[in-house]
């Protein structure tokens, strides 16, 4: 089932004009605030009637100005998770969840979102993160053919975001319908989306598989630190603090804040400025790797050290004062202590 959107709409001086397709999986609608992302989602939901265009899901036309088709909101069967949750304040969580129907699958959705303990509370007694989880559950229980999420994390602080993201991850993997996910936060987009639709000032910039779009339109905040490399590997185990042991070409690395299961792929970034080199035989620290100095390069008062660990290569960069005691020379064996940044998660 694919969502096809093609619409034009005028709001005062603002001209919205976008056309894209959203296949099953998460399609991120990405752009700065005021780009018209919410208007697009509202048009898909039926809350906004575009001046012109066509909207269809899985071949069924929901809106076609030229043909005079405009399926009313209540008949579109879309799950809409609003930025501000919009839970009914006078109903308990249970009755909020059941509002759109869906006695079937109730227990499954409740446990997917981890809201078993909240069912008899009213929204006023929920935290921001709990509210959003309930809002997601309510939308899912509608048994939608399409899930619309309008910045579901925007009103939450970093901790609450971290609390919800794992549920969204699971959702993205377990729900077999297109999810249109509005965001202006690239780390969320990278983590969740498979398709990317970029909008700016009401106009479509680009759309398609996320890797291709990002290659054509690099996002400024996303530029990796100079000389940084990306390391990917397979998750082998988790420790008690949920840090993941990832088997990489550099050897086993421990990563915090990784979601997924044993056997999944995880990626991290090695920033040369955060690599600490020490002399010695073996260090019992986590993320310590035995390396051989491969090359040296001086630039001003900075030294960049090319390193080899087995077949893998990376570099470390430091001030000249810190480099001196290491007595650096090609072929020297050292220990590198890494501070790997989990990717798609901890990026600036």
């Amino acid at each position: 089932m694919t969502l096809e959107v093609d619409l034009r709409h005028r709001l005062g001086d603002f001209q919205l004009e976008v056309a894209f397709a959203a296949p099953p999986g998460v399609t991120a609608l990405y752009g700065p605030s005021g780009a018209g992302k919410t208007s697009v989602v509202n048009a898909v939901a039926g809350l906004l009637r575009p001046d012109a265009g066509r909207i269809a899901v899985g071949g069924e036309v929901l809106f076609d100005r030229a043909a005079g088709i405009d399926v009313p909101v209540r008949a579109r069967r879309m799950g809409y998770v609003f930025q501000d949750g919009r839970l009914f304040p006078h109903l308990t969580v249970r009755r909020n969840l059941r509002y759109g129907g869906g006695a079937e699958g109730f227990d499954a959705v409740v446990s997917l979102l981890g809201i078993e303990g909240l069912l008899d509370r009213r929204p006023a007694r929920l935290s921001g993160g709990e509210k959003q989880r309930v809002a997601i559950g309510r939308a899912l229980l509608r048994e939608p053919r399409l899930l619309l999420m309008d910045e579901p994390l925007a009103s939450l602080d970093a901790r609450r975001k971290a609390e919800i993201l794992p549920y969204l991850d699971r959702l993205a993997r377990e729900v077999r319908i297109p999810i249109l996910y509005v965001s202006h936060a690239m780390e969320e987009v990278l983590r969740l989306a498979t398709t990317l639709v970029m909008i700016e000032a009401g106009q479509l910039t680009d759309s398609g598989p996320i890797a291709e779009v990002l290659e054509r339109h690099p996002v400024p905040g996303l530029v990796a630190p100079e000389g940084a490399i990306t390391v990917t590997g397979t998750i082998r185990s988790f420790d008690a603090r949920r840090e993941a042991e990832v088997l990489t070409p550099l050897g086993p690395l421990w990563l915090a804040m990784v979601n997924g299961d044993v056997g999944d792929t995880a990626a991290c970034l090695i920033d040369p400025r955060k690599v600490v080199l020490v002399r010695g035989e073996a260090v019992s620290s986590r993320n310590a790797v035995e390396v051989t100095v491969d090359a040296l390069r001086m630039a001003g008062r900075e030294v960049t050290v090319g390193l080899k660990a087995g077949e893998a290569q990376f570099s470390a960069r430091m001030g000249i004062e810190r480099a001196k005691p290491l007595d650096l020379a090609p072929g020297r064996r050292l220990i590198a202590i890494l501070d790997p940044q989990p990717l798609l998660d901890g990026l600036p």
Binding site: R74, M78, F82, R86, H90, R122, R125, A139
Partner: protein, 233 residues
Amino acid sequence: MISDFLGPAEWEAVRLSVRVSLVATIASLPLGLFVAYALARWRFPGHGLLNGLVLLPLVLPPVVTGYLLLILFGQQGVVGAWLAETFGIVLAFRWTGAAVAAAVMAFPLLVRALRLAIEAVDPGLEEAAATLGASRWRIFWTVTLPLIWPGLLAGIVLAFAKAMGEFGATITFAAAIPGETLTIPSAIYGALQVPGQDGVVLRLAVLSIVIAMAALAVSEVLARRAARQVAGG
């Protein structure tokens, strides 16, 4: 107990007043809700005119309102003649006429309270209900109405109190016929015109106060319960 306290004529005035006010309030509620919802949520030509019409009885001298009612709903009136001919309904100088007068006078207060309550409801909640498949009717019953409940109660009590106290329009349109349209205010006014009726006046005045206070207390308790429910628990 009350019949010991009141004479039969006074008791009749009290019962009549309560009946007229209850009927006036309950009968005007559906239209009041509709008008308040339309004023709060819809943009349409004539919006300002409708608002002015609704508020008119609040600012007109009640005698003028009563006179206008007489012109419209009197036996010779445009609407009154048609009602009498088609349905056999006569309003002027009947208790039903007193109820109509009370309803018209209380209507602005009812609509104002309801409009404020409806405007306080986030339209986003109604949109959310629509995305969950609810019809307009279901949205109104399950979202809008429960959320305006405290305002609705306040409006009902205000309208009931106004109807209980209505005098000018009622006496103009329905006169003060004992057992038919002689409500408490008319009875008090009548008693004041006759020497030696101070006791009647005092008893009816005390009773008016008691009824008004009781209505206020009931609405206060219900509104608090509703507010508590929304706030959590």
